[in-house]
Subunit: 343 residues, 2 copies
DNA sequence: CTCATCGTTGTTCACGTTCACAAGGGTGAG
DNA sequence: CTCACCCTTGTGAACGTGAACAACGATGAG
């Protein structure tokens, strides 16, 4: 354990500001000024510092900076089911935008359904000293828990909650659902089912609301929606159930995966889509155009959503921007819908 | 801007160890010992500290800890195309496992195809002072760039690179491809095409190798594989191209999305899957069971992969475990394959 | 020529934690 | 009774950075 020679490298430690300063023949504060490009530095000095940084492969120590400024420059994302296309695309976009703004991103996933799992996830984010929180694809319970924790953080949610406390930003799910429903009605369908998302999910509720709103607006009789779990698997079994009665000519599924499962069940019953039954989905995942038949669905611009989300979060608390936080979805008509022919 | 009263709260600052220490009537060091549960603390003292922490809602300051220990307890993930199911599932699993071990995770995404983009992504991770790096779904170029940067970090890649420098862990892509190919041969197919992934991708190469190996092993003639881009869209157009000649009875696609596109093109040509043409995919994404027809494919256990990945990274450098880093994939036979009937 | 001012750079401290070491009190052996 | 030792706790320094303030030289006005 005696002192070792260590000819060139002084320590195995990463170079610090002081090392750069020494090499450049200035004080560490001057180096700091160069890094944060403060005004009033002589060009020649600045260049010398930059050269030294380059030569030493210097990297600012984020922890030290965070300590002294008490700013972590980190954004937290709280999400559920991040293997689904929508959340994944949103996370991606948020991360890109955050990085561009010099922020890092950490994510935490809600594992189960109990609220302890939610608390744990938020705890992990708080441990990271996040400066802002984005909530993706949430369930109502998430918000209740969040509200109960009384966080002192800017929070943006990617789905409108209806509550006023936090700012939200979302694709207008209700309008999307109305577009889908109206499309079916205009094709001549009179008996339309809705295969909804799970109870308690904000998005599922909004889509269901949109469906019921439009049906009522057009004086159409409605039946109670089926509650699903977003998976193709569930769509398949729901389809088999529904086909026992078959008192409908169209189904609006709350997402593309369930629509896929539905179509599977319908084909199994030797019925035709859209001849016997029309199907509309929601999300426009990349695969939807190649389902059989290609799926009519509602497109959400996840990337745009992510970008605006970060802008909202980092743009500070400039209110007023709060209410253009709604992005209009568009209907994409493909082969899975048509007039109710075989009846 | 005058001083405000602030009756109760001394500062708006978060409570620190000293605050806890003062409240509990001990020194900050004792608090530190409680947090890191060091031995030799009287139970009564410990409890008093815990109570104070609870009362003040104390949270350790990660930045301060990182500064003094020079350990960030953060793992970096470098990924490409994280909206795809495979990478997304892997990231999820890695994050869960890392969190369980008390580590945080940051991800960086390779945006384009130039190596500057790769360098930038790694730079962002290094700014976070990551202690280990996981590389997911990489292209060869990623590794070249990585090697050029000579990082002093433990690196684990989720796909075998063939190079010895870094430790890798992977589903055995070659074996998976052989399973798929053998299945087609055993069904009686003699002319089989391979729709491969993009050039330069490790996984794509491995699957192609597996395909060619098995074909050669069984003395089957092979044609040059088609190179795709993983998307259903490409699969669709590739299918249209291939069907102009139609000198084959089966196609092995390098992933499920391309297989989906292929089946779309085949139906458009009024041909039957599997009657006219059999299709095998790769990945077993959750939707694959509900494609039409349900897709025969190769299942990879992404979750297991992620778990082992973190174990490998954090388990330190205990060599010897290095070579059980291969997870066997399994073939899942569904409706998209059958004997070549209509010929 | 003198003094104020501005542009540039340096000095010192604080952030919240862990580490190395020291100090205090109790216990047991001789 | 005394001393050594262990258990428990405290003290001071250090990590790398940014903020506040000070200091220095040059410049320009009077």
């Amino acid at each position: 354990m005696a002192d070792e020679p260590e000819p060139v490298a002084k320590k195995s430690r990463a170079p610090s500001m002081h090392d750069v300063a020494r090499l450049a023949g200035v004080s560490h504060q001057t180096v700091s000024r160069v890094i944060n490009d403060a005004p009033n530095i002589r060009d020649e000095t600045k260049q010398r510092v930059l050269d030294s940084m380059e030569q030493l492969q210097y990297r600012p120590n984020r922890a030290a900076r965070a300590l002294v400024t008490s700013r972590s420059r980190t954004i937290g994302i709280l999400s559920a089911s991040r293997t689904n296309y929508g959340p994944a695309a949103s996370i991606q976009a948020i991360e890109d935008a955050a990085n561009a703004a010099g922020y890092a991103v950490t994510t935490a996933n809600i594992q189960g359904f109990e609220s302890t799992s939610i608390v744990r996830a938020i705890d992990r984010l708080l441990d990271q000293a996040i400066e802002g929180l984005v909530v993706i694809a949430p369930q109502r319970r998430t918000f209740d828990t969040l509200a109960g924790m009384a966080l002192r953080l800017p929070i943006v949610t990617l789905q409108s909650t209806g509550t006023d406390g936090d700012r939200s930003l979302s694709v207008d799910q209700i309008m999307g659902a109305r577009l889908a429903t109206r499309h079916l009605i205009e094709l001549g369908h009179r008996s339309i089912y809705h295969l909804a998302g799970p109870q308690d999910w904000i998005e599922a509720e909004a889509r269901m609301t949109g469906f019921l709103d439009e049906m009522n607006a057009q004086d159409m009789p409605t039946t109670a929606p089926f509650l699903g779990d977003w998976t193709a698997e569930f769509g398949y079994f729901a389809g088999r159930e529904l086909l026992r009665v078959r008192d409908f000519t169209a189904i609006f599924a709350a997402n593309d995966q369930m629509a896929l499962g539905l179509m599977h069940a319908i084909r199994d019953a030797r019925l035709d889509v859209p001849g016997d039954i029309s199907i509309v989905g929601f999300d426009d995942i990349p695969d939807a155009a190649h389902f059989w038949p290609p799926l009519t669905t509602v497109r959400q611009d996840f990337a745009e959503l992510g970008r605006r989300c970060v802008a909202l979060l980092l743009g500070g608390l400039d209110a007023g921007e709060q209410y253009d936080g709604i992005i209009a979805p568009t209907l994409v008509v493909r082969g899975s819908t048509g007039p109710p022919l075989n009846r």
